[in-house]
């Protein structure tokens, strides 16, 4: 019966996918993946496997890392099935498998690289049994979804029970996920002290030693909770990394491996998140057996996904359209901090309501997890907020000490551009929710028209 259901799901799914492609419609979607799952709930478990299934998860940075790894593997000449569009639930993962097989259930791709939701892992990993599971970091996310680290870790630990043969690639600098109980030997990566000081954040997801209940001390923090720590009471410390970025320059990093050998890799940008992504991707490909020289070549061919960020340099002003997760204080704080560290004069448009929800009053808890205080800086000249919750954002900005004269806000996100004052501005940022790609791109183009 199960085989029959699978065959029906496969035929229906492939037929729909091929028809959509022929008609020029969007065949890459969660919905497309849910079709075979509706017919055969364990569709993923029956689908033929490629050479390797790679699952990327964690609270922040999944989409960028997934796309980055897929780019690198494609640069190696391999064929890859990847849910590049940031969908990461069962449907998106089923899509990866559906896309990687033909109607006879023969694998036609070399690799599946899939972004996976950390909370959903308990349902999906026992089906997909990934060969490699990469966990960027774990911290609180949307209060609706993955509200606190323990909630997520419990789910991941249950997921691990269903995937005993997966190789785990973990961030030694994340004091939450590095202690995931996996019952196997893990591969760890880490990054040197990047000299960012010890930036204080409202969110403190690692403030108590998991072994003795003491108050851990950071030896360094690179961002958020990410850094190397030691507990003064019991001596618990971050795991020793197998891959350690011991030097970070503007255009390359040097990664030391456990045997002491050091290899140089290019980096697309030197921002801290990309540095971590690069070391993590290197750790994966080295574990898979790729040579360092080849990996360096593949990195140089990879790029950041367009729907996460797009940039345009006008005559005097640069505009940057960037996706920032809604309802996630850690993700927002990271972006606010990146603006805080800039010297140029900045105007910021925020359209970060979760606009796909209906008949629901969005909660504002995360506004007080996010460090709006980073935006209280002289060179951040304008903050323009659009969307249903604009009045709540306005109050949060005021409580962060931001001058009232720098804040504009309006109900309709489409109207935000009208409030822009271009005089003396070097960079205009649009921070938009991940579901507002189309709208933010429209605003981005309106600004380009004005500044070119």
């Amino acid at each position: 019966m199960s085989k029959l259901r699978f065959a029906a799901g496969l035929v229906a799914g492939r037929l729909a996918m091929n028809t959509f492609r022929i008609l020029g419609k969007d065949a890459e979607s969660d919905r497309m993946g849910y079709l075979p799952v509706k017919i055969c709930p364990d569709f993923i478990a029956h689908a033929a496997r490629p050479k390797a299934v790679i699952a990327v998860t964690g609270t922040n940075g999944k989409t960028s890392l997934t796309n980055f790894i897929a780019d690198m593997l494609e640069a190696s000449g391999a064929s890859v099935s990847c849910n590049r569009w940031a969908g990461n639930y069962m449907g998106a993962q089923a899509w990866c498998f559906l896309n990687s097989v033909n109607v006879l259930n023969r694998s036609k791709k070399d690799y599946i690289v899939m972004e996976t939701d950390e909370g959903d892992s308990v349902l999906t990993y026992p089906l997909s049994k990934p060969d490699y599971i990469l966990i960027n970091n774990i911290s609180r996310d949307s209060i609706f979804k993955n509200p606190n680290p323990d909630f997520i870790m419990k789910r991941l630990e249950k997921a691990m029970e269903g995937t005993p043969d997966s190789t785990l690639i973990l961030n030694a600098d994340d004091p939450v996920s590095c202690f995931l109980k996996t019952n196997r030997k893990n591969v760890y990566f880490a990054v040197k002290d990047l000299g960012n000081g010890n930036p204080d954040r409202i969110i403190k997801d690692f403030s108590v030693c998991p072994r003795c209940g003491g108050i851990p001390q950071y030896l360094y923090k690179n961002y958020g909770n990410i850094g190397k720590f030691v507990c003064p009471d019991c001596g618990l410390t971050s795991p020793e990394p197998d891959y350690f970025a011991e030097k970070v320059a503007d255009d390359h990093i040097d990664v030391r491996e456990k045997d002491g050998s050091v290899y140089r890799y290019p980096i697309i940008t030197s921002d801290v998140y990309n540095v971590y992504n690069t070391v993590e991707a290197v750790a994966l490909l080295r574990t898979m057996g790729f040579e360092p020289e080849r990996i360096a070549e593949y990195i140089s061919k990879a790029k950041l996904p367009v729907d996460r960020e797009e940039r345009h340099q006008g005559r005097h002003i640069e505009v940057i359209n960037r996706s920032v997760k809604n309802s996630n204080g850690a993700a927002a704080s990271a972006q606010f901090e990146s603006l805080h560290n800039m010297k140029e004069n900045i105007a910021l448009i925020m359209i970060m309501d979760e606009i796909t929800t209906s008949n629901r009053v969005e909660t504002i808890t995360w506004l007080y997890d996010a460090d709006f205080e980073f935006l209280n800086k002289d060179n951040i000249k304008q903050i323009i907020i659009g969307g249903e919750r604009h009045l709540d954002y306005n109050l949060r900005c005021l409580l962060a000490g931001i001058d009232k004269n720098r804040i504009s806000h309006c109900l309709l996100a489409e109207d935000t551009v009208k409030y822009l004052n271009y005089e003396g501005i070097d960079k205009i940022y649009i921070f938009h929710d991940i579901y507002a790609v189309e709208l933010s791109h429209k605003l981005y183009e309106q600004i380009i028209e004005r500044i070119d």
Partner: protein
């Protein structure tokens, strides 16, 4: 004015930092003392004006209860004296008798009030609309726990959303100047009239920081919460 924040290293979830932030903006001269669970609270030897505690991971609750139990008599004395105490989110559980975990284990809490907490397998996400002494209160609840027993005197009478448990029309405890509620997030910035009420309890000028902006945001949200078409029960999903 002295505001003591209990165990911030244990309890910093869900934006409840907003309560402290708004208090300090409205009372800029207030001294803030943060006490971790390994330290002797300032209130043990001194009078304080406000004691705050915020949502924490469930596994931290026994440590928090043990830490506070050492100074229970003094804590009770301060409550009786009228110190403003605000316990939000699952710190409400600390004030009850015990927590019954999903797997059946029982953890003893402080027993200041005759109720207990049961952790259920369903997570409740609910918008809350209610009233307290004529003030319309809005907020948000996210919990696996429900409270049972004598949960009195009540803090908020519900008009919408989930109360102490699925069958209770009240939310939280209000005893003298202690306010304990499972509502989470920035309760005070979201409820400027409640903030004013607390300022008056403190004998402080009740003019709010950014009062006009806070009131406009509150009134806008209140309209949404009072919309008959709005479902206050949000998403339920298994842990």
């Amino acid at each position: 004015m002295v505001i003591e924040v209990l165990y911030p290293e244990l309890g910093s979830l869900y934006g409840e930092y907003g309560n402290l932030l708004y208090l300090t903006k409205c009372c800029p001269k207030a001294e803030v003392i943060r006490t971790n669970h390994k330290s002797r609270p300032y209130f043990a030897d001194n009078d304080v004006d406000v004691i705050l505690a915020s949502s924490m991971l469930e596994r931290f609750q026994p440590a928090a209860a043990e830490a506070l139990r050492l100074y229970l008599n003094r804590f009770r004395e301060l409550i009786e004296k009228g110190t403003v105490v605000l316990f939000t989110g699952n710190t409400v559980d600390l004030l009850g008798e015990y927590i019954l975990r999903e797997e059946g284990t029982r953890e003893e809490m402080l027993g200041l009030f005759p109720y207990h907490t049961e952790i259920r397998d369903k997570r409740i996400n609910s918008l809350l609309l209610g009233s307290f002494e004529g003030i319309k209160v809005i907020g948000y609840k996210a919990q696996n726990a429900q409270l049972f027993g004598k949960i009195q005197p009540p803090f908020i009478k519900l008009d919408g959303g989930c109360g102490n448990n699925r069958d209770d029309g009240n939310e939280g405890i209000h005893y003298r100047n202690l306010f304990a509620t499972y509502m989470t997030g920035p309760l005070l910035p979201q409820n400027p009239l409640l903030m004013k009420y607390i300022l008056r309890l403190l004998g402080h000028d009740d003019t709010l920081a950014f009062e006009e902006d806070a009131m406009v945001a509150y009134e806008n949200s209140l309209r949404e919460y009072e919309d008959p078409a709005l479902s206050h029960d949000l998403i339920w999903h298994n842990v």
